[in-house]
């Protein structure tokens, strides 16, 4: 049964492949088995998922704005 055991590093790779449904049947079993016994890799999956969820919407929390000068310059591009 040793072929079912995988390392945390390998589990991390497989988690990214899982996002695109690119796991083979053996990798699916290996990953599921590893995640069920490794609390660190479970956290890694949860935390990276959460980071991505927030990163997707980061722009809506941004206070960055263009300067009035730049806006005027852009506006002039359409009126020239």
């Amino acid at each position: 049964m040793r072929f079912l055991n995988i390392s945390c590093k390998k589990a991390g790779f497989l988690l990214s492949k899982k996002e695109e449904n690119k796991l083979t049947w053996l990798e699916k079993i290996q990953l599921k088995g590893h995640i069920s016994i490794c609390s660190f890799c479970r956290r890694f999956e949860q935390q990276t998922g959460w980071i991505i969820l927030n990163a997707k919407h980061a722009h809506t929390h941004s206070e960055a704005t263009l300067s009035e000068e730049t806006k005027t310059r852009l506006q002039n591009l359409f009126t020239d």
């Binding site: 988690l15 660190f40 927030n54 980061a58």
Partner: protein, 189 residues
Amino acid sequence: MSHPLLQPDKWISNYSDALYAYALVRVNDSALAEDIVQETFLSAWKGKDSFKGDASEKSWLYTICKNKIIDYYRKKGRDIIQPQPIEGKDVSDGFFNEAEHWTTADAPGDWGIDYQQAIESKEFYKILNGCKKKLQQLQQSVFVMKYLEDLDSEEICKALGISSSNYWVLIHRAKLQLRACLEKNWINL
């Protein structure tokens, strides 16, 4: 005569700041983000006669902006010289011991948060941005293209001219670095 749903005279006042913020978190450079916004409006202006009204004016402009960002990463991907052989030892191998299990120092800690809930904290987004900037260029490119632009790995490999095995290494290392950086700088504040 352009589509009645388009109001080019209001584009700057209605969308320039939002598009700028959208581009800025994706390219991490204010001058570049400004260029992308300008190119977005110019392309939209040139293409306004082909706007059919299938999408709203807003989402049409965002799609143009998104394509400009992907173009930027595509061009940048060709210019990046990879700093070391991708399979070689690098900083992210330090997260694991010889048996490739988490080291005591780098094992993910308990964050004590609800992982289903997005966060509103401004401090968090500031730190996230700082952590994103610390990623190697190619790691940053694959992270943005995969998770912020929702491209799949094949499209990203093609755009950046990298192999799929390089892609899986890069995306995994990007996640390792980001997670560790946030744990260090945000959770353990």
